[in-house]
Amino acid sequence: MKSLVGLWEKNKMDDKEKKQDSLYVKLIPYFEKYGILLLLVIMILVMHILQPDVFLSWRNVTNVFKQISWQSMLALGVFMVIVTAGIDLSVGSIMMLSLMILAIVAKAGAPWFIVVLVPLFAGFLCGLINGLGITLLRMPHPFIMTLGTLYIFRGTGNLISGGTPISGFTDEVRYLGHGRIDLTWLGLEKSQYLPVSLVLIAVVYFVFWVFLNHSRTGKWIYAIGGNPSAARASGINVNKILIIVYSLCGFLSGIGALILAGRTDSGYPNAGLQSELDAIAACIIGGASFFGGRGTVLGVFAGVMIMGILRNGLNLMDVSSFWQQVLIGSIIVLAVYVDVLRRDFGTRK
């Protein structure tokens, strides 16, 4: 009996070794890293084939980037939180509150550089409140703290503004969300401009990519998501890092508010309603794991793009927004199923 078990164990190991050598297994790490980009490229091709005249036109492409500009900020913030195995449900409300504060300060006649800085500071402060609540009040899960602040921040935004829209900002304030970089010096037409928000996305994503992958704090954020007790035992101040992460997430929501102010030229009560769910969806589609410790900045960007292109493409084809909801939901479930399969395969039990 014993020898039989031994034989079985041996066979199992042989199988494993064979598996490890096959081309398929060698490709997996690359697929893991760049698979989401592949999906993005396929989507772009499909949309191009379906809408050859419109989809890849300058106007439509810049439109997609303008549409995803503020969502991409929220998604990046939520992504960092998800890497620590946490969640932030309040980003939409943080953005709305920051936007309302911006609008009130602008209406009060503050100089533009104050108006521009105010939402960033407000967002940071909201994130700090989340971080302090989660660590100091020892909430059992970030879900609870940020669910609370989801209501608190939106309520506060409505209280200070009376629940009515406040419109009309100066061009300086609107620059990041609405500005255009003229490309006529390249021989392009006047309509072929570069949205400032696209440049902003690139800069912010690059800075956070460097931060997460090349700084100690960034490495510790991943370590906390991988094994919080390991991080603690390594002398890492886990609470401090979590407070930093939630504060940065709030700060990014503040940038989102600034972009949205530029795009819509108004602060309005429904700003960013349910956008926290879009942000989470983009992270999950982009390959971030809810178990923490996994995911890339590039993946989040791809996730945001996939959602943006899906919505844009379906709009172009005049597909009802109800179908858009069904499709996005299906993609989330599929993406997470792929994550589950990958974990089964990649981790030794």
């Binding site: 090349h214 700084s215 100690r216 490495k219 510790w220 991943y222 370590a223 998501g225 991988g226 094994n227 007790s229 390991a230 991080a231 603690r232 035992a233 390594s234 002398g235 890492i236 923490g292 410790g293 996994r294 990649g346 981790t347 030794r348």
Partner: protein, 249 residues
Amino acid sequence: MTLTNKLLLEAKGITKYFGTITALENVNLKVHEGECLGVVGDNGAGKSTLMKVLSGLYKPSAGALFFKGKEHVLDSPKDSQNLGLEMVYQDLALAGNLPIGENIFLGREPTKNIGFLKFLDFKKIQEMTSAHLEKLKINVKSADQKVEELSGGQRQAVAIARSTAFNAKVVIMDEPTAALAIKEVGKVLDLINKLKSTGVGVIVISHRMDDIFTVCDRVMALFQGTNFAESQLDKTSRDEVIGWIMGKK
């Protein structure tokens, strides 16, 4: 191993209360250079609490810790690390999503400065990891492998490598072989012997008499949070030590 070796770590009269529960009462412990001390005891005897006191995770309610004859108060794991006291936890305390090298240097990563910004020095991490694994004769495919892809024995080896990467003087191991396949146990015990030969003091907490009698020089038993018995290994037997665990002398 003889007692003429220098005394590294001494705990005197360690007492620890959790509310009304007494986890440790007046416990003493000594470990010398190049010596392996085995700590045995039943579940709840206070072994893990004692180790957490030594690693700075818990503050003792009473008692004092001496390192090389000097008294120290440990407020955090950082303090004990700075003294050269390192802990290998039973749950290994590794982040599976990070590569071997980044786990070994977690919390103490080498950086290079560009202006006022500090960036992780991946090249240095890689080189130091390879050199350190080489020194301990630990074989892995590459230092870039993620820890979650390793076997239990390899993970234990990484955990031990991690504990000794920064000039450790005393390494404390909590059940180092508990989760391992039989053929991997030998490798870990070899590693402990290698540490001893470099003058490191080792404290091994284990239920396995085989482990204790293979690598330890001295064994002490805790029973209900107190020192129960202690002996040089060559002056006792397995049956006697098992008796101590159950509270019989």
